[in-house]
């Protein structure tokens, strides 16, 4: 509490400090506090920033005029100063004037807004296509025609969120696997969703587009400088809406190609694994990891779930019942409740085998059985 009190008093003194500062350090302070829109790193984001500042200054000028007259009247035309009220209450000329002038200002505003918008809508001739799919509560990136696809999850540890560990600099804005794009290329994002509506937003790219089930929205970015750019889901999408960030890593073309190759190799290794046999302990350990990473958002780390919305795995009839039912709900999803979606495509065979083994034996379920990746493959092929 003392720490907060200190910060609070610093906040309250802040404005006084600001006023007494020189222009230079004032600008730095403003920067530190983050009071304005970012200029971003694309030509488009700069256009939008300019548009934003233009309309902002127009508002400021109008505001100064209107509030100026108002405060002048409040100071001069007050009864306590002996003001005698005038009686005028109509002037067609004035009304026409203050209808027409704002109209002209608006026309002047509409022009740059229109050209920028036309630019933004030009998604043709992209050099890289990435399909972005929103899930409760993670993003999936598929590189069209590149055979690379992966999920991107929040990587901030729970301990930081629940205040049991100090928060890192990129608290809530970090993921296990960023989406990688090449610089100086027109990258097109095809945006959709698998369950509810999400919105893919990266301020530095000035890209915000709703991810809507049944729709594929298009937008694009041309990033000039290599760097890491962070954003968040911008459309309320349920419980963990605050916890599905976006991290874009822009790399020079060569490094980008290397990264793509690396990703393909990883996928090949994973396919290899499907044919191997694993010991119970290996599966269990890997399964614990998968469960905590993928399933715990709903079923919780301790397997207790959040009934009735998300059922417990501990003692669950399915996790302690027939193996095929357990496989079915994970691979095909629930027939009745879309919140339990199909993980068959999302997880590799190894991961599914692992998480099933884990769920059947953890949380006092103690079924004693396990399943191999090859069985998962057979189950999928048997369909």
């Amino acid at each position: 509490m003392l720490k907060e009190a200190k910060r609070l008093s610093a906040l309250l003194l802040g404005p006084a400090v600001l006023i007494s500062m020189s222009g230079q350090s004032l600008a730095e302070e403003v920067e530190r506090w983050g009071v304005n829109m970012t200029q971003g790193v694309t030509p488009m984001s700069r256009d939008i920033y300019d548009l934003h500042m233009l309309i902002f200054w127009i508002c400021v000028v109008i505001g100064v005029l209107v509030f100026g007259v108002m405060f002048y009247s409040m100071i001069v035309h007050r009864k306590s100063r002996g003001a005698i009220p005038a009686n005028f209450h109509e002037s067609t000329k004035l009304e026409i004037l203050w209808t027409a002038v704002p109209f002209v200002i608006l026309m002047a505003m509409a022009w740059p807004a229109t050209t920028t918008l036309i630019d933004i809508y030009d998604t043709d001739e992209a050099e890289v296509d990435i399909l972005v799919t929103g899930y409760q509560w993670k993003w999936k990136y598929e590189y069209v025609n590149q055979e690379v696809s992966f999920f991107s999850n929040l990587s901030t540890p729970k301990e930081q969120i629940y205040n049991q560990a100090p928060k890192g600099v990129n608290y809530l804005l970090e993921v296990d696997e960023p989406v990688v794009i090449p610089v100086k290329k027109k990258v097109r994002f095809l945006i959709t969703a698998n369950d509810v509506i999400h919105a893919w937003w990266v301020p530095d790219l000035a890209v915000k587009k709703d991810a809507i089930p049944g729709y594929v929205n298009e937008t694009w970015a041309y990033v000039e400088e290599p760097g890491t750019y962070r954003g968040q889901c911008a459309e309320l999408c349920g419980k963990d809406h605050a916890f599905m960030p976006i991290v874009v890593e822009a790399l020079p073309e060569e490094e980008y190609q290397q990264w793509l190759a690396g990703k393909r190799e990883e996928a090949a290794i994973l396919r290899e694994l499907t044919n191997q046999t694993f010991s119970f302990d290996e599966l269990y350990a890997r399964g614990e990891d998968v469960h905590n990473r993928v399933c715990a958002a709903c079923h919780q780390v301790n397997g207790e779930g959040v009934p009735p919305t998300f059922p417990a795995i501990a003692g669950s009839a399915i996790a302690t019942g027939a193996m095929n039912d357990h496989l079915s709900i994970i691979i095909d999803g629930s027939a009745t409740n879309p919140a339990m979606r199909a993980f068959g495509d999302e997880l590799s065979e190894v991961d599914i085998a692992a998480v099933v083994t884990y769920q059947r034996n953890a949380f006092n379920n103690n079924m004693g059985d396990s399943v191999q990746p090859i069985d998962i493959l057979k189950y999928k092929q048997g369909q």
Partner: protein, 516 residues
Amino acid sequence: MAHGPATGLSRWLFTTNHKDIGTLYLWFSFAMFMLGGVFALVVRAELFEPGLQIVDPEFFNQMTTMHGLIMVFGAVMPAFVGLANWMVPMMIGAPDMALPRMNNWSFWILPFAFAMLVSTLFMEGGGPNFGWTFYAPLSTTYAPPSVTFFIFAIHIMGASSIMGAINIIATILNMRAPGMTLMKMPLFVWTWLITAYLLIAVMPVLAGVVTMMLMDIHFGTSFFDAAGGGDPVLFQHIFWFFGHPEVYIMILPAFGIVSAIIPTFARKPLFGYASMVYATASIAFLSFIVWAHHMFTVGMPLAGELFFMYATMLIAVPTGVKVFNWVTTMFKGAMTFETPMLFSIAFVILFTIGGFSGLMLAIAPADFQYHDTYFVVAHFHYVLVPGAIFSITAAVYYWLPKWCGNMYNETMGKTHFWMAFVGLNLTFFPMHFVGLAGMPRRIPDYALQFADFNMIASCGAFLFGAAQVMFLFNVIATIRGGKKATAEVWENPEGLEWTVASPAPYHTFSVPPTVK
């Protein structure tokens, strides 16, 4: 002479008197304002610092949703209907509302609707957690089971609003005193007349959209379910076709109120009466063709995007006319600054700031950066809190002496004003900054760079809350006693309501006055 009120509870349960029903509406609204305020404070308490401390995200979402629903449907709308009940008959020289029994009914279904809505918080799976805009499919396929009660509650609220609106239109069109031509009506009556038409036009649309949700949830249709061939974006179009006029429903009567108060305390007639009427009508018309500016990021075709951008920018014109008229009314007046005037001046200034951010939001390309951030939260709280809430507060201070015959405590009123004014700006101004800097709305936890401004906002919110307790205290004290008010209450105010005694007798204008 006419008989007085019945005694005891039955007076309130069975009353058909417009003043009693106005009082009921106003108290109900205040209760909801407090409840919605508590929900907001839960939200602000959680957002005081980064990290999850007080509530879990599931409950946080219920709090933001309930806060919005309760404030819009429970606090602001009933308050304006309450003011209309009290003032419209007195302003046009009518003995009562045109449909007094329906009036009783349209009030008394409200407590049931809200009791049902609030009870969902205690149901399995919790209450509505999909935001006050309840976008499908989050509010249908993925909603908690209590959503059915939410839908039913919305239906009842809609019925109440429609009945209230019919009553107001019938009263204004049929019951004006001889000589009270349309263009002589006080602006509050005019703005309410137009608002009532908006209500009748859009509340059925709201009822329609929740009915479609109900069908999707229980009867196997797929209006909004892409998997069944439906369209989630359709939901947003229908919702905002209701939702955009709805925001004007919450602000037009406010325009009427400040147009009554500013001339009184500037001691100068309202500037540009006729243009005010026309501006109100234009705003109402435009409100029907701008809805998709709430949806610039859904991926509309370019032409649609441009149309809604231009139409939205146009709203600045009639709104500007209003602001210029108010300022010119003040110009060369002889002003004093009693509490209602303070609230009205703050209304003009802060509402204008909200209008500026609205104009910024209208610029579609820039909206791609603003949309669904705290910048939007700042914008609509600037138009709703100093807009709707301040005008309602100003109206209560302005007419309270007429209602109960006693003057309120001016010092306490001014203290209330300054606390509310400072609290409001501390709460909502920093939201512009965090929004521009990239903080999405409706999140229970946020990145570290937003921490300082959020802490300030939370402190401001509690200050604002405390100010409202003081308001309650002042109103109760005024009802129970205080300096007797004259019939005129203020210096030469305009309007028929000031020609009757204070407190206004239970029945006024049983014999219609003649308006010259």
